[in-house]
Subunit: 298 residues, 2 copies
């Protein structure tokens, strides 16, 4: 990678940009109803890599667009991601008490507030996309449609449902892959699509190349997540080590072996880079993000 | 009312139209993930008055528009309403086991599936609005924005949060009114706004008159709901009699007395009709709906 800054630096830059925009745009914790708004801010502003916003901004850059225009769409994707984590952590779902080293939202507040905070964050994501003034109505509408599809029953939420149903079940690699394509892949692909739409309103071959990149990246992200889950250090990951395999959720290392999963991860990285072959240095942030995703330790 | 059919007939007609469109557009219960899609259909297609869709169609008609064009927006509002009921019934929220005479979604399925079904229905509402092809991108975007605001923390979900916080608390009439304006009023107002937008894209004085009508109607709906809750017959209401007052939620009859609440209801009806004074017979369905809302027994 020949970029002026590393992937980590790019991620940090995007995270700072996103965090600032989120903190500014989210209703103040003093706005009524206070407890709800405080919980919404807690669930969104508790750190996190901001990988999806960074992908959105990097995709804009790859198509020659102005990343500043992509900040609100990037934040909208992060609102969806944050709401899904809040609901995923609920007792009826994954029942997690710790996220990014802090109590989960339903622990810090209460279950009802956590459910409502997630619901309100989802609505807010579409509100922000719709009112993003720098872009044409057609582009904003395409973004609403893309994000709604990626979030819904054929996307992220569908993946969560498949995941829940898979606990304690024997699943095939194909089923595992379908689950991840929806559960994490759909939103990662939407991040890249939204960024691409802000730069080039009419989908073209470059959009397709970026979509293929994003699909491979989404899987790579999950394979590395599974590997970190069996190797990871709780103090870095901020969640209980081995928590997925402990609840006998299917994982790549279980189905492919650890070495097989690692080989697959490298294949996916190569696939990501191949899809960027037609791009110049403007796609270096996307290249760096792929490297980051497969080498990250957290 | 000089219309060719009664308010009940108009409601039945709209409900049939909405039910058919919802049944056709919702993913089949056989579509993967099956349990999620089955729960989504269960939560949406379990009857209900379809008051919000009817208001949407009636508002379109009042502004000289074609109700057929408003069917998808009407369905989108109903998806939001249905998701809010599914989440509202959860054990961590109102903990209701019966809704419209049937087991609530988390009882018929399970809590996790109910949470996810609600989440997916919300996303689907915005997806449907965005892809509604007969309307301009600007109008569709205005509808997304209107529905998102009405659904979120400053609208419906905010009202639910205020409601939960009010259990067992002393609240003033002003606080009760604010809670209802958000909890049920915001979505009722959005129903009318969306219908109006399909007919007349640029908000004008008629939009304002309809918005004022909707605001009064939303409150009337709630006052009547509270009255039915202390008088109602479980077999008609399909929920446990007195369930709100039993959990010492604040209600209009508690704060104003039963007669006071009834007087207020009639005032609100008069206000609704006044805001429609400038309209001709094309607003008769809206007039009939107001009469229906204050006289309904279920």
């Amino acid at each position: 990678m020949t970029a002026l800054f590393s992937a980590e630096e790019f991620l940090e830059y995007c995270a700072a940009l996103t965090d600032a925009a989120l903190a500014r745009r989210l209703p103040a914790a003093s706005a009524l109803p206070e407890r709800l708004h405080a919980a919404m801010r807690y669930g969104v502003l508790g750190g996190g890599k901001r990988l999806r916003p960074a992908l959105c901004l990097a995709a804009t850059k790859a198509l020659g667009g102005d990343p500043a225009v992509a900040v609100v769409p990037a934040c909208a994707v992060e609102l969806i991601h944050a709401y899904s984590l809040i609901h995923d952590d609920l007792p009826a779902m994954d029942d997690d008490e710790l996220r990014r080293g802090r109590p989960t939202t339903h622990i810090a507040y209460d279950e009802a507030t956590a459910i409502l905070a997630g619901d309100a964050l989802q609505a807010m994501a579409f509100e922000w996309l719709a009112e993003q003034g720098n872009l044409s109505a057609e582009v904003r509408l395409a973004m609403v449609q893309t994000l709604a599809r990626a979030s819904g029953s054929q996307g992220m939420v569908g993946g969560q449902a498949i995941d829940l149903a898979a606990v304690g079940q024997q699943v095939t690699l194909a089923q595992l892959e379908q689950m991840h394509r929806q559960k994490t892949g759909a939103l990662i692909e939407a991040s890249v699509s939204l960024g691409a739409l802000t730069a080039v309103p009419e989908p073209d071959l470059r959009h397709q190349a970026l979509a293929s990149y994003a699909a491979a990246l989404g899987l790579a992200f999950q394979v590395q997540d599974d590997l970190l889950d069996i190797e990871g250090d709780t103090s870095i990951m901020g969640k209980t080590q081995g928590s997925d395999s402990a609840r006998s959720k299917p994982t790549y290392p279980v189905l492919m072996g650890k070495d097989g999963a690692r080989r697959y991860l490298n294949q996916l990285l190569a696939t990501c880079q191949q899809h960027l072959a037609g791009f110049g240095p403007e796609a270096d942030p996307l290249r760096g993000m792929a490297e980051f995703v497969v080498t990250r330790r957290y």
